[in-house]
Symmetry: C3
Subunit: 349 residues, 3 copies
Amino acid sequence: MGTRLGELVERLGGELAGDPNIEVTGIAPLADAGASHISFLSNSKLRAQAAQSGAAALILAPSDSETVGATYPGARIVTKNPYAYFARAAQYFEALTAFVPAAGVHPSAYVAGSARVDPSAHVGPNATVEEGASVGAGAVIGAGCFVGRDAVIGAETRLFANVTFHAGCQIGARGIIHSGAVIGTDGFGFANEGGVYIKIPQTGRVVIGDDVDIGANTTIDRGALADTIIEDGVKLDNQIQIGHNCHIGAHTAMAGCVGVAGSAKIGKYCTFGGAAMVLGHLTIADHVHISSGSMVSRSIAEAGQYTGFYPLAKNADWEKTAAIVRNLDTMRDKIRALEKTIKTLTEQK
Amino acid sequence: MGTRLGELVERLGGELAGDPNIEVTGIAPLADAGASHISFLSNSKLRAQAAQSGAAALILAPSDSETVGATYPGARIVTKNPYAYFARAAQYFEALTAFVPAAGVHPSAYVAGSARVDPSAHVGPNATVEEGASVGAGAVIGAGCFVGRDAVIGAETRLFANVTFHAGCQIGARGIIHSGAVIGTDGFGFANEGGVYIKIPQTGRVVIGDDVDIGANTTIDRGALADTIIEDGVKLDNQIQIGHNCHIGAHTAMAGCVGVAGSAKIGKYCTFGGAAMVLGHLTIADHVHISSGSMVSRSIAEAGQYTGFYPLAKNADWEKTAAIVRNLDTMRDKIRALEKTIKTLTEQK
Amino acid sequence: MGTRLGELVERLGGELAGDPNIEVTGIAPLADAGASHISFLSNSKLRAQAAQSGAAALILAPSDSETVGATYPGARIVTKNPYAYFARAAQYFEALTAFVPAAGVHPSAYVAGSARVDPSAHVGPNATVEEGASVGAGAVIGAGCFVGRDAVIGAETRLFANVTFHAGCQIGARGIIHSGAVIGTDGFGFANEGGVYIKIPQTGRVVIGDDVDIGANTTIDRGALADTIIEDGVKLDNQIQIGHNCHIGAHTAMAGCVGVAGSAKIGKYCTFGGAAMVLGHLTIADHVHISSGSMVSRSIAEAGQYTGFYPLAKNADWEKTAAIVRNLDTMRDKIRALEKTIKTLTEQK
């Protein structure tokens, strides 16, 4: 299955230089692409490679089009953001062949009497949808999923197999929740009395906007009293932990293994590298970027890139530097002493 | 649904100053509380705010009662630990409205013939309870849970949906295991022969005390030969990993993403901040507190707070300091050289 | 149930010094072993303890055999690698008593019509096996597992309860996947357009070799276009995240909570301590060993041990050193100034 270049451009935009009747069947990297593939140039440094690509057509920026076109014989789709165009084209080709679960409830699933499952939605084998829950049009509830009482799954949102989505929580349209994710578990809230912990009931919800992706085995706690909020377009990778009452601004992305403690307020358009950690009750401004492995221990009011991890070294070298780090105050005192002595020496002159 | 203040104090203790017939329906923060709410003052700095609260009643400490009561017109519940009282009151109100799963086994669940499920327990849709397992009075086994052969689930313990509780493991009374948690998986034990790993069977169990909470997607390995032990009152947040043969003392609490390697012995009343890590075979004393993001690489014999993470900085500043950290030995050598030179200079005088 | 020493040696090799008709029923540590146990000496420092062990037989190295045998009255099994021999003997004893799930598909499981499940394989309660999937001879699909379309589970591979194994992915023979693991979830791939993320379809697979163990709640992303590859004999502990298009060389082992970002290429025979993190697109040579809690932020071409974590200290001491770390460039400048001043002083002489 494939498509004509003309049809692709009609759907996705861009300016076509070349024959609109060329048939293409998929996307491939510059080096691998053949006569039935489209490829893309998103980095001008690869112009020479692009010019020699065997692809039937190239997606590229206006600033690269003429130079590459001088030697490249294939068609060109010219667009301002070739990488975004590539993503949309790849989505288009994937949709041609992707398996789409059939509408309806699998006989081995359990859907409670008062749950509303849209007739166009799919509920997979051995899934459970509790009383009062609502599953929107075109939504997919994968095998073994649990959708709790009064939970709301928006239209065209997909829960892959074995997702747990707890009572009263909500997700908007076109979301994706990957397998093993747990949404709406109790937050970690206790009062301490003589060393013994007394549980504080967690009665808030998790409220998730549209176009949110949540990775495999990621966990998002429900709010203690108010809700945990995940705004539109947020992208969370696998194994992330979001504490209760966090608020994550729109279009913020977090890589795998990130942890965010309770009541942190994170801005829009932020990025967090893998295994970054954020302490509780902090406020992070919009457009803040945290490097992988960094511990965010204070609020950040200014956009920019922040980092904090110990540099890797051969173990023997680390042993040396770590021993010095442990005693940096001694080193500082020695420098102070030297400064004093030298001051005295200089004055004696 | 609500309750009279007099009835609340009868159940939970504390001294009531005010009308016992006032009806209250729930708890709210000082700023939001209205005429049907109780609120609480657990931090004396908020006395002024408390005095102006619209709450029908305030939970507060003896030391705050008079000052606040001078202007606050509502009722007061006076108690030594207002935050703990708040937690208990919140539990009380939650119980009035919380959904309680009905006793009995859901028709879509599989319970093996020799498993003993107390008639007052609940086994949810698509759950599996294997041969010889035992589920105590009032216990709840959520949808999609797996309870392995001969496992023991104590009275009033709740497994939320999609928990895996492996063969032979035990948990006591009033515990909570959140969704996606895996209890009793094999520990990571291998012998190495010429670079190839040979699995060492993990034949111990996980034995968990009473009143233990285990967070979503947390994993606890079974012991290699002896058992992994989690004592009474331990509270584990989400995404925690506990290795085989660990022993965690009573009333210790760990925040999300903590990892504890095998055979670590951790004391009572400890706390671990998020993403703290503990190496294997270490011993940690009682009342040790580990800050978030800290790597515990040696045993700790003395109670107290311990920390070890690289401070966050703007990326450009981090680049500078990290480069110096990598070469701290050079800096140390320079200081030594300076000290020598100065000594010579001074002696020459 | 037990076995004769002679039979054990016949199966597992080694040289027996002693009566082959002694019956043994299991393995125990040196200190605990009684007259029906075998024990083992893998560390020569424990020779004295071994010599006094109550075990019926000892597994030990040729270099220890004579010394220990001089006083120890029991039988000896002499072998080059006693710890590996112990592992194999423990496997042997475990197999005598271990529960083996019966061949066949549990009535509460759903197996699609075109899936091929070997008659000797087991599919547990409430499990789902989708169209076109293949489950090999002697394989075990635990309760609540999901095996996606066209996935391939090799012979004698075991999926414990609640594993998710996505469409098109493959695992070879004799593998173990622990509960809650998710194999073949989408990688974290997006193009950004004006701050908004556009999903790049993840159409590669996860391809896993023979004898691979994957821990509880570990996640492995499918490739974006090409595959994610896990070679033979790799051992992954719990809560590990492996990004899309990673390639992990044979017999590499990773402890719990490790994260590997996308497209990292890791060599053979490597080890990663708990919570170590690897950035994307790096290349790590064979026989590289990364210490726990270390962030690998650059490729490593040379075998050896590498470390990078901030040393733990009492919190007050950490506060001091961390403040200095933040301003190490000031310290460096002071040293430079001192060097200059001293140079001047010296030259003035």
